[in-house]
Symmetry: C2
Amino acid sequence: METLRERKKQRTREALLRVAVELFTTRGYEGTTVDDIADAVGVSQRTFFRYFAGKEDAALALDEMTVAHFVEAVRARPAHEPPLQALRQAVLEGWDTLHEVVDSVVPVERFLALYRVIESTPVLLAAHLRRSVEAEEVLAQVLAEREGLDPETDPRPRLTVAAFGGVMRMTERRWMTDGDFSLEAMRELTVSHLELLGPALAGKWLPYTKT
Amino acid sequence: METLRERKKQRTREALLRVAVELFTTRGYEGTTVDDIADAVGVSQRTFFRYFAGKEDAALALDEMTVAHFVEAVRARPAHEPPLQALRQAVLEGWDTLHEVVDSVVPVERFLALYRVIESTPVLLAAHLRRSVEAEEVLAQVLAEREGLDPETDPRPRLTVAAFGGVMRMTERRWMTDGDFSLEAMRELTVSHLELLGPALAGKWLPYTKT
DNA sequence: TTGTCAATTGTCAGTGGCTGTCACTAGCCT
DNA sequence: AGGCTAGTGACAGCCACTGACAATTGACAA
């Protein structure tokens, strides 16, 4: 077990994160000041900044956890799967097991609400995109290892991850704007987009028939 | 011709932009305050904010011009070209004619230096990515029109643009970090990446042989 | 030309994110 | 019990950014 100090720290951090998410999803990101969060938790503003690098960091902490979770899922995929297939399966797994990562802080629904805030707040969206791109670097490394390649000389790992990442973020955006805001809908969107990717990139487009 | 007032405004804006780029590339983005820029031009800080939405906006103004230029290049591509081919040609054209867009403010080399600053400054990179993603929405619309499709029902335009965009940004990053910082190198990287995209996404990877 | 109107600017005051410093308190360890 | 150290609060200060108002300057008609 841990020392009392560490437990206290953990509790403070969690309280800050929880309150931050609560306020961001109710009053909006810009409508919430760091003082609001600190006051609600009962600590000084200075203490908030000791736990989070910035307001942004608190808003994206949960997102970062899910990204790490996804990367782990890719690592855990059987080695015989082709790269794109491994990414695809890992994403679907990631969505299916979202609650395992997020529930310790807030219920999944609250996280999804936060996601909407991120997507609709320019500065948060920007930061989110940057982190996604950073994650791609890690993913490329993972793919390269799986295939026994060096990403510095063989561009295919990074290439695959970049295209895949582009499609995933486009899927997120459509998920937000299309009406259905359920994990099931996200699953379906993901599958159909990944299936269409090949044909869409290959030369001329045949007439499109929705499945 | 225009009124004196408009010419003055134009000159002020251009002076601000030029000085901003100058300072960002020499002292770095964070190392430059808005007051530095305003003082160097001889206007008040308030005036700076009347011409640019923020410090960020000044740093990315040139980038935005090149993006618009690229979108136009896509629009101008012959209708018979398949979508991905049109994007590819337009990008290459865009790099070849960079000077036409940028020279009116600063020499191309200075712009390339600014690009490095953007890529290496987290907050700027984030904003740059967000703008790129916004541009993708426009591009998807353009592709859809070319093919006579509705992007709301047919995901292929957005899909293509998303994958393409991912690859392009991955190319930018590699361009920065690989040694050769010339437009020619960028051209070659672009071509080789786009050529490898198809094979990289298709199932298992064959042994890679550099061309 | 001159007077009126509108656009542009500077000044000032204030908010909010974020950081450095320093004294103080509270858990830890012998 | 008492010294050590990690964590905290209070305070001062920087910088990006905004609203409000007054002063200036170009535009345009009488």
